[in-house]
């Protein structure tokens, strides 16, 4: 239960960081900062609230999520290759 509250506190702090970072002018970095914080937050939720790190029932779990993320990143990469060099 302590872990849950600690994770929640970290999520709130990260949200505060993201909002205050958006108030400053980071130039090209602002996208990276905002997305980095979003990935960090979803990692915390996936591992602690959704107990992904405790799922040992099937090996598939270890491959499914990176697999889907890889497909998504591939799609994003291919789309931007098309858009940028059209």
């Amino acid at each position: 239960m302590k872990t849950y509250i600690f994770v929640w506190l970290s999520l709130v702090i990260l949200t505060g960081l993201a909002v205050s970072a958006a108030g400053m002018d980071w130039g090209g970095w602002s996208l990276g900062v905002a997305l980095g914080i979003a990935f960090l937050k979803s990692g915390l939720i996936l591992n602690y609230f959704m107990h992904l790190k405790d799922e040992r029932g099937l090996r598939l779990f270890r491959w499914m999520i990176p697999g889907i993320l890889a497909i998504l990143i591939l799609f994003i990469g291919l789309t931007f290759l098309d858009v940028a060099f059209r």
């Binding site: 949200t15 993201a18 958006a22 609230f49 779990f61 499914m64 497909i71 789309t79």
Partner: protein
């Protein structure tokens, strides 16, 4: 032993569904980033007109509702069904709070004549039409997911109340929790995409 295996398969099925949801929203995220790339200046101006404090408040509401969801499962596992029900109720309440904020946010935009296919909006530049089209469809689809989540949570509430779900048969509550956390994760990406990156 058989029960344990069934649980694993059921959790796996839930995860497969959640991953298909990630791909559904992922496609929309790709559309959004391509249009942002093509119309970056106008997207910048339109994003600044959104209500950032309200967006931040809604983020905090959903994060807190994820905590209460996790606590509800935690207490039911430890046979404290009253506490579990209390946190489940709190989760439903926070979900409704999120939706009511969303309603006021949309209502103020509609009041200014900014809604899909609105005459005021169509006179503006193409990038702005695209921005609001994406804003309404993506936050709308997410809001629909929150609404479904509230429905599922209410069914869970009644089931726990009637003792159909308890510490031994906790799986439906766990899977509902997984869904609720995913809805939270989607918002974690929607929030910077529309409100923060300008």
């Amino acid at each position: 032993m058989k029960n344990h295996k069934d649980n694993t398969v059921s959790t796996l099925g839930m995860w497969l569904f959640l991953l298909s949801e990630i791909l559904l929203f992922g496609g929309l995220f790709i559309i959004c980033s391509v249009y942002r790339y093509n119309h970056s200046r106008i997207f910048h101006l339109a994003a600044e007109s959104l209500n950032r404090p309200l967006g931040a408040l809604n983020t905090l509401i959903l994060l807190t509702s994820s905590l209460t969801m996790a606590l509800s499962i935690f207490f039911l596992k430890n046979r404290r069904s009253e506490r579990s029900l209390f946190f489940l109720f709190l989760t439903i309440f926070l979900g409704l709070f999120f939706l009511s904020n969303k309603y006021f946010e949309w209502a103020s935009k509609v009041h200014h004549g900014v809604y899909p296919n609105a005459p005021v909006l169509l006179e503006r530049e193409r990038g702005e039409v695209l921005f609001y089209g994406l804003y309404y469809s993506m936050t709308g689809l997410h809001g629909l997911h929150v609404l479904v989540g509230i429905g599922l949570l209410s069914v869970m509430f009644v089931s726990v109340l009637r003792g159909k779900i308890d510490h031994e048969r906790i799986l439906p509550l766990k899977n509902t929790g997984l869904y609720w956390h995913l809805v939270d994760i989607i918002w974690i990406f929607l929030f910077p995409l529309f409100y923060l990156i300008t």
